[in-house]
């Protein structure tokens, strides 16, 4: 296997007294989907935020062979990392189209945004109908689409999605995850945090299970799906609500 696009060693994230992530090591091979599962408060978002530089972290992060140190968030985005955060962080008082154009800010000196914009309209026709609408007036599902499209406008090498299916109808969840799977086929690497374990494992190439900030389990989707603990916590007939 080639060098992974993202490699994390002994990552540690703490907020004052709360330790959110401790001693997590994981990697994302080029052109694959890696999923991170885990109950609420397991530290999944903290892990993504630390990789993105949104929260400070200890440990080592290598992206595309280069060590990330004190780089700012925007420097990491310029390198080709991209995060669709849990809270989306859209520009709510601006139009859908302006949001997308700004998504391409890092490539602003490299030609027109139109071709990529048209690709996004093709990918999310619902957004095209609402291109002049303010982002703040979009429905929850449409906001997820906009957040994902905004990230894609910057043509990232590694796309990190924090619960892209949060609060979405099953049909749209399938659509969004199908989009992720198509992106992988086009060479984009994806790190996917999901509550919907069944759907995530269906498209993933590898998975990690995080609990209380530590990696409890990792493996191929088939192996994870067969694991008794996973079945009980995330896939089983019992309620998926845990902890």
């Amino acid at each position: 296997m080639t060098q992974p696009i993202l490699d994390v060693q002994a990552l540690h994230v703490a907020y004052d007294a709360i330790i959110a992530v401790s001693d997590v090591s994981m990697s994302v091979p080029k052109g694959s989907i890696v999923t991170i599962l885990g109950p609420n408060g397991a530290g999944k978002s903290s892990l993504l935020n630390a990789i993105m530089g949104v929260v400070p972290a200890g440990g080592a992060i290598h992206f595309a062979g280069r060590a990330l140190g004190g780089e700012s968030v925007e420097a990491r985005v310029n390198d080709g990392l991209s995060l669709v955060p849990e809270k989306r962080e859209l520009f709510y008082s601006m139009s859908v189209e302006d949001n997308l154009r700004l998504g391409r800010f890092r490539l602003r000196h490299q030609g027109s945004a139109e071709p990529m914009l048209n690709e996004m309209w093709a990918l999310f026709p619902r957004l095209k109908e609402r291109r002049r609408q303010l982002a703040g007036t979009l429905s929850g599902g449409e906001r997820q689409m906009l957040a994902m499209a905004r990230a894609l406008m910057g043509e990232p090498r590694l796309l990190m999605l924090d619960e892209p299916s949060l609060g979405l109808a099953p049909l749209i969840v399938r659509e969004i995850l199908q989009t992720a799977s198509n992106l992988r086929d086009n060479g984009v690497s994806i790190l996917l945090v999901e509550q919907n374990a069944r759907a995530a494992l269906r498209i993933a190439d590898y998975g990690y299970v995080l609990e209380s900030g530590r990696v409890m389990l990792e493996g191929e989707p088939d192996a994870l799906q067969a694991d008794q603990r996973i079945v009980e916590s995330y896939l089983g007939v019992r309620s998926a609500v845990s902890v």
Binding site: V77, L102, R106
Partner: protein, 349 residues
């Protein structure tokens, strides 16, 4: 005291012209606050520097602000190179040296040439702007950027300190004597009972042109949208690679240019001293506060209102002129604090 029509028209004209300048300053304050959360108290010093720099160029002396620009340039280069020491590229270092070290040298050369060859008035105005405008981003690099995450209150305290420091430097460079600059349009238009000075027309036209230009910048250009994006969601902006420092540079360049331009426009109508800028800026600030420090149209409209109040107050009760103007802010602040519990906290988001 009765007011006849011709006096009324003069007062209205005065009010609108001064109000236009307060409006420009209010816009600059809103831009800087929304993008960087800084309440730019020292914008008054940009006003004074703009006016006094032009006055010095007119009398054929090299303005002290040229030296200040050089010193700030060196300090800014040091701060920028230090901030990017770990991930510096050849291009970024060249850009930083060019904009922080080379630019003041070029501007100083222009200023010298301008005096040496007795350049026309418009060239002097442009050179004065070129001397003051880069101070905005330099001060941002040296003072505000290292503490970009501080609270609005801390940033305000720093602003007050910076204002006092720059005012002191103004006294050192320009002395305590006031200056007036030449009118930018030495004609008078006569329409019935109304005499309109050329300078008034220039002020209003420049203000309108600048408002249109700012509107186009924020609505139509990617950089303008990036500034708005930073204002509405800082983290969201960073996630699409919009750097707060870049936006800070643009916002501070706009503010310093607008401030200096305001000073240049007003100095043909009133004598400007090293400390006059603060009072002028304070009126822009009142207008900006009435707009909640975020609303451009409200800020601009209130600026005209303040200009009119000031103009009529100076006629009827000149001793209380400033008092009346600043009293406008009290009911507005009461109303605002009643509607939105904490103005200062709004920017903390």
């Amino acid at each position: 005291m009765a007011v006849d029509l011709s006096i009324l028209l003069v007062l209205v004209q005065d009010g609108i012209v001064n109000g236009a300048i307060y409006g420009l300053l209010a816009l600059a304050l809103v831009i800087v606050f929304t993008v960087t959360r800084v309440i730019l108290v020292p914008i008054g010093e940009f006003v004074a520097f703009g006016a006094l720099t032009l006055a010095a160029l007119e009398t054929g002396t090299l303005p002290g602000t040229v030296w200040l620009l050089g010193i700030l340039g060196v300090a800014s280069a040091a701060c920028r190179l230090w901030a990017s020491r770990r991930h510096a590229t050849m291009r970024s270092v060249a850009w930083q040296i060019g904009t922080s070290l080379l630019l003041p040298v070029v501007v100083a050369g222009l200023a010298w040439a301008c005096i040496h060859w007795q350049a026309p008035q418009l060239v002097k105005v442009l050179v004065a702007l070129a001397i003051v405008a880069p101070m905005g981003p330099y001060l941002y690099d040296v003072v505000y950027r290292p503490m970009a995450d501080a609270s609005v209150l801390v940033l305000l305290i720093v602003s007050v300190a910076l204002h006092l420091a720059l005012q002191g430097l103004g006294l050192v460079f320009f002395g305590s004597e006031g200056s007036r600059t030449q009118s930018l349009a030495d004609t008078t238009l006569e329409i019935g009972p109304l005499f309109i000075s050329g300078q008034s027309i220039v002020v209003v036209l420049v203000t309108l042109a600048l408002i249109v230009a700012l509107f186009l910048f924020f609505e139509r250009t990617l950089m303008g949208r990036a500034l708005r994006a930073t204002a509405v969601n800082r983290l969201g902006a960073q996630l699409v690679a919009i750097s707060p420092a870049l936006c800070g540079h643009v916002a501070f360049t706009l503010a310093a240019s607008i401030g200096a331009l305001g000073g240049i426009l007003i100095s043909a109508m009133t004598t400007i001293y090293y400390d006059t800028g603060f009072l002028i800026a304070l009126k822009g600030f009142v207008a900006a506060v009435i707009g909640g420090l975020v609303s451009y149209p409200l800020a601009a409209a209130s600026a005209i209102l303040i200009g009119l109040v000031e103009s009529f107050a100076s006629f009827h009760a000149s001793a209380f002129k400033e008092v009346l103007v600043f009293m406008i802010i009290i009911p507005v602040l009461l109303w605002r604090s009643w509607r939105t519990p904490a103005l200062l906290d709004e920017g903390e988001e």
